[in-house]
Amino acid sequence: MQTKKPVPLIFELSSPGRRGYRYPELDVPETPMEELLPKEHLRREVPKLPEVSEIEVVRHYTGLSRLNHGVDVGFYPLGSCTMKYNPKVNEDIARLPGFSLLHPYQPEETVQGALKLMYKLQSYLTEIAGLSATTLQPAAGAHGELTGLMLMRAYHRERGEDTQRKEMLVPDSAHGTNPASAMMVNYKVREVPSDARGGVDVEALRGMVGPQTAGIMLTNPNTLGLFDENICEVAKIIHDAGGLLYYDGANANAIMGYVRPGDMGFDIVHFNLHKTFSTPHGGGGPGSGPIAVSQRLQDYLPGPLVSKRDGEYVWEYPTKSIGRVRSFFGNFGVLVRAYAYIRSHGPQGLMDVSDTAVLHANYLMRKLQDDFDLPYDRHCMHEFVLSGKRQKNQGVRTLDIAKRLLDYGVHSPTVYFPLIVEEALMVEPTETETLATLDAFVEAMKQIAIEAAEEPETVRQAPYNTPVRRLDDALAARKPVLRWTPRS
């Protein structure tokens, strides 16, 4: 499986004068440098890039890749991140030169295929959200959140209420990007408590809204993997107070074809195409975070959007557009993969995705409920949260459980999130795993629970079979070494 051979830094392989790539000879007549660039603009010190051959580069990165876990390597039940299988054909599709070699400023008549794809994707996402219009511009979920909140401000501003509506309500179970995005638009964050069933505490919410409320950010199912039964009530409370509802679509893998955020009462929805629509996570990105909005917000969307006029696809700016949130039109290469994913599934296929994701999660949850604490005993959606409280009393932290799982060739679940569950372990199996994989995970978790009770030290010292043993986070933060430096 994983090799333990350490890989030197690419800089440590460098030999003066070695080259891995050659550009063609310069074929135009040369103009003397002094005629082109004043001396003071010239670089004095050559940047210390490595001097390596192509085979060294290939072996270096191949060696590094073998130190890494991915969905292609093994199970990756990282809650909230939807680490499902990423279809290979979509990689081939995204690399077709007719997509990958387009310049963003090409005339519309030369990019009708790309515009058609975007137009269709806008409409598919609008339908899945149950809303009115979609922009594909945001580069990730958090970027979608930021964009959505900018739209909220624009909406309240036009009503003359922006200076008064300064509070963004965020549940205590929310993902960190929600409050951080609110901060990016100068909203004051107010935390809404959760109730005993894991949903928004409706009574508390009632007491928190008012003329100062700009809106609320929710995900449903929420980060506990639970569908909030009171969502219609919550929507009414917010709307009655003059606020808007933002839907963090990180958990949309549970709901496709079953329920639409628009019908729950949401005004703005982002989708993480890298989660629900299976575009590869790439070691941290690129993602894509399109947002769909209700009719009353669509004129504020960032531009341009693709629209259709006389059978032609054209760029168009919404009438009261807030502007733009990035350069060009979005992570188009990611959009191509998501479009292909939707087309390969169709309406029934997407429903099967959610259906199976929910079935797998419930199966795992019930298999593990005797060995770990289950804080909310009800059907979960596509993921669930366990607590390692019992193990903590045995001297084993959730972090230790996570590290021990690595020895089984499995990525650990998300840990210590959501914050409202003590020693949280958030498990999201996804629909693309086999029953055998799920059962093997159950076995591993049960083994670890036994170990925690009988030989906690074994768990505390984990992992053992990984390329490196447990790494010292504190040291890294105390004495930051953030780059290689040549030895003098």
Partner: protein, 448 residues
């Protein structure tokens, strides 16, 4: 379904274990009145072969730069990309991993980022860099926010010579944090910031000055002078650098930049109709480093003393600090940054110099050939891989005709810059050959 491995027997096995009759029952928390009754109005599923045929049709109804010879730049560039890049970024271990939260099984991605940070720091002449941002424009917006936080001021100086879309993005981000943006006019003669317009008092309460390097018109600003001016006024210097140009141009760190950002697409990433590429973000000094947005990887050791890498300085980040974080960024552009790192590693310092030199020379060649047929450069300032020309022509029309000749012409500037009504921004990378340039000049000669 294609990617769902669960058989009907296995489904039944799980349902039996759960004691429910159908998956429907698991959705019991969804109120009936909001359930979707009808199937989503989406087209029916396609098998792989059908999907491929459909996608090929779509892609082939575009005319791409596989067939067009491009002289279009303005933020997205047709550079050569070594073949090895795509092979590395296609490896499933990189492609299908996520943010390296579990460091012990993510040393591949972590070391890649550590090397990437080093490459960006070297390129820009700065102390440290982060793991990537969404793109150049958002990276710049975050740099301005960081400058305001560090300088405890709430005004940003933006030159009109910055890419107009980047101006839009920065303005929108600043407006939402109640930070004012003062635009700095430019000189019609040189195509650079109007240094004469830079009064002492303008800089007085500014958190930072942004220098595009080279600027949107391809022209190189008077960086030394601007750097002195903003620092004298107690503000920070933010440089928005074209990374290719840094093979030849002085590193921003050397003329005193505090933060350097930019768009990394030219290294390792095809144009992709504008994305994904990657934004880079570098700065110097621990005060700034500890306020950087985004992921940062640091070196450490494991329990047996072996060198290893982890995500570090995380107390800046949203998952720890929530509304007190330095940014809301979570997912970034890691795979595109990997592409950039592979590209820079395989070309090395000499390759970097070569590519920059060729851009400079080929741009100069096109400029002189056009001059010979009466199409003049619009500005006197020195340029790198882009320049503006003016001619009494309707450039939209000219570009249409150029397409018939297989050329992607430059970007007409009149819409965004009324004073540049008859001007167009042309770009020449190392990927263009002398023959292509000559044919382009010939075609233009017949049209202008």
């Amino acid at each position: 379904m294609r990617y769902i491995p669960t058989t009907s027997e296995e489904r039944q096995h799980m349902l039996d274990f759960l004691g429910v009759d159908s998956v429907e029952e698991l959705f019991d928390a969804v109120p009936d009145r909001i359930r979707t009754e009808k199937p989503l109005p989406l087209p029916d599923a396609l098998a792989e072969a059908q999907l491929m045929r459909h996608m090929k049709e779509l892609s082939e109804s575009n005319v791409s730069c596989e067939h067009l010879v491009s002289f279009l730049g303005a933020g997205s560039y047709d550079h050569l990309i070594p073949a090895v890049v795509n092979h590395i970024t296609s490896r499933g271990e990189f492609l299908t991993a996520y943010t390296p939260y579990q460091a012990e099984i993510s040393q591949g991605v972590l070391q890649v980022i550590f090397e990437f940070q080093t490459l960006i720091a070297e390129l820009t002449g700065m102390d440290a860099a982060n793991a990537s941002m969404y793109d150049g424009a958002t990276s710049l917006a975050e740099a301005c926010l960081m400058a305001c936080n560090v300088a405890r001021r709430s005004k940003v100086l933006l030159p009109e010579t910055l890419h107009p879309e980047w101006v839009d993005v920065v303005k929108l981000y600043m407006e939402n944090q109640d930070i004012s943006v003062q635009m700095i006019p430019w000189n019609r003669e040189t195509g650079t910031m109007d240094v004469a317009a830079l009064h002492e008092d303008a800089a007085g309460d500014a958190a930072c000055l942004v220098i595009p390097y080279p600027n949107f018109f391809g022209v190189i600003e008077d960086v030394a002078k601007l750097s002195r001016w903003i620092h004298d006024a107690g503000g920070l210097l933010v440089t928005a650098a074209d990374p290719v140009s840094l093979g030849l141009l002085e590193a921003p760190g050397a003329f005193g930049a505090d933060i350097v950002v930019g768009e990394g697409q030219p290294f390792g990433n095809t144009m992709n109709f504008g994305g994904p590429g990657f934004g880079f973000f570098a700065c110097s000094g621990s005060k700034l480093i500890r306020r950087m947005p985004g992921r940062i990887v640091g070196e450490t050791v494991d329990t047996e003393g072996r060198r290893g890498y982890v995500l570090t300085l995380q107390t800046r980040e949203q998952h720890i600090r929530r509304e007190k974080a330095t940014s809301n960024i979570c997912s970034n552009q890691a795979l595109n940054a990997l592409a950039g790192a592979v590209h820079l590693s395989v070309i090395g310092p000499q390759g970097l110099k070569d590519v920059a030199y060729q851009c400079l020379q080929k741009t100069a060649y096109l400029k002189s050939q056009l001059r010979d047929i009466g199409i003049q450069a619009a500005f006197s300032g020195p340029t790198f891989r882009e320049f503006v020309v003016q001619a009494d022509a309707n450039w939209d029309e000219v570009n249409k005709r150029l397409l018939d000749h297989g050329f992607l012409g430059g970007l007409p500037l009149g819409e965004r810059f009324p004073e540049l009504q008859h001007c167009v921004l042309l770009s020449v990378t190392e990927a263009r050959t002398k023959d292509e340039i000559d044919r382009f000049v010939h075609a233009l000669g017949g049209l202008c």
